[in-house]
């Protein structure tokens, strides 16, 4: 391995940050990891945009609004390897369960007719990204190179995947590491 550290960017789109929490479950292995890896754009660094030369992009969550689409495209443009992390990135997951309900009904239920709602109105600030009609898995928007299933994938999954990549091996997960739940 050369001295140049591998640049990793991460983001949670329509996710719950559970995959990021699971990533942090690497615990003391994080110390070893940062000897080989530096974090670029990520909630862990608060860097707002990807550098142009990121090596690995880890995407948690599906795509539920216009901002998610822009962010996902930024990651694809700047990361050599893009990875779908967790059930929501892979199939839309829990947020995609709204796909059976019309967007209008969803918004009305949450902001107009919901129990305990005061001053009912649909949020419409220009700062707010517009919701997509449906929640989509990220592979429907950009090319994805690897998929790490799980809700969330365990820290061992991240470890095996990243150490394989860092060692120049084709990443492979054994049976115990692949779970859709």
């Amino acid at each position: 391995m050369t001295n140049k550290k591998v640049k990793v960017a991460t983001v949670s789109l329509a996710g719950c940050f559970g995959c990021h929490m699971s990533f942090l479950d690497l615990d003391e292995r994080l110390v070893e990891l940062v000897e080989h890896v530096e974090f670029d754009r990520s909630p862990l660094t608060d860097i707002e945009h990807c550098s142009a030369d990121c090596d690995i992009g880890l995407i948690e969550g599906g795509v539920c609004n216009s901002e998610n689409v822009h962010v996902l495209r930024e990651f694809r443009k700047n990361c050599k390897i893009l990875v779908a992390v967790g059930a929501c990135a892979i199939n839309g997951g829990l947020p995609a369960m709204r796909n059976h309900i019309s967007l209008e009904d969803c918004l009305n239920e949450a902001y107009v007719h919901g129990i305990g709602v005061e001053n009912p109105q649909i949020p419409n600030d220009v700062e707010l990204p517009l919701l997509l009609d449906k929640v989509h898995p990220i592979h429907e928007v950009v090319k994805i190179d690897y998929f790490l299933p799980g809700c969330p994938p365990s820290a061992d999954v991240f470890w095996k995947f990243l150490t394989d990549l860092l060692a120049g091996r084709e990443p492979s997960l054994n049976y115990e590491l692949v779970h859709f739940d």
Partner: protein, 239 residues
């Protein structure tokens, strides 16, 4: 002298009347499948068990074994096809494993694990399908039905009833219930019926039992579907 067929270079015996699937199971060879169960008449619809017989693709669960067959079961081409079929099943229905009671005990999920499937590849349909929770003990979540017809056959062949059927064609295909209202509560399904317990996915579930076995201790959490299936469906053909 035993009659034999060759599967992936291995010579195995068969008896007249056996399908390739039956001969393979007896010899301890797993051929991936979802709609097949040795208890019932083969249906040949899921196509996961497609093998190459003397160069031609055939469904192992329906194709009779016969002398001189040289069969390929495991090849990259066949397994890639199986993976694509499984991915199509995942995108056609709404299979959200983390929120499904059947996770870990689900044959669809286990076949996906077996094939090394980590994504669904195709665009999702996100079709709106119904849940029928009308029956006091059994529920149907149509989101997870893969139309394998195991419940249809179990009801007819084991329970001597006729509770389920598949109606419609192509994308309009649906599992229907034989009752005037179309609801499960008005059918003669009993919680002890074979049909109530045979679903390979989480489409037909027994109420109030979902989390008796915690996630992490379920059948396929640690055991591969090939070993589990051969233990259940191999030599003795007992379930």
């Amino acid at each position: 002298m035993n009659k034999t067929i060759v599967i992936d270079g291995k010579v195995i015996p068969f008896q007249d009347g056996q399908t390739i699937m039956e001969a393979a199971a007896e010899a301890g060879i797993y051929i991936a499948h979802l709609c097949h169960n040795p208890q019932f008449t083969p249906h040949g619809s899921c196509k996961l068990c497609t093998v190459k017989v003397n160069g031609r693709n055939c469904s192992a669960c329906t194709f009779p074994a016969s002398e001189g067959q040289n069969i390929t079961n495991i090849s990259k081409e066949l397994n890639d096809d199986r993976e694509k079929i499984t991915q199509m099943l995942f995108v056609e229905g709404n299979h959200f494993c983390p929120s499904c009671e059947k996770t870990g005990n689900c044959n669809l999920q286990a076949v996906a694990y077996h094939l090394g499937m980590t994504d669904n590849h195709f665009p999702h349909f996100f079709e709106n399908r119904e849940v029928d929770a009308s029956h006091p003990d059994v529920m149907i979540d149509h989101n997870r039905c893969i139309f394998c017809t195991l419940c249809v056959r179990a009801s007819q062949e084991v329970d001597s009833k006729n509770v389920f059927a598949i109606s419609g064609r192509g994308l309009e295909k649906r599992l229907v219930v034989n009752s005037e209202s179309g609801l499960l509560k008005d059918s003669d399904l009993d919680v002890n019926d074979c049909a109530a317990h045979i679903c390979p996915t989480g489409a037909i579930l027994i109420k109030r039992t979902g989390y008796k076995v915690p996630i992490g201790q379920r059948i396929f959490d640690h055991a591969h579907i090939d070993t589990v299936t051969l233990a259940n469906e191999g030599a003795s053909h007992d379930e």
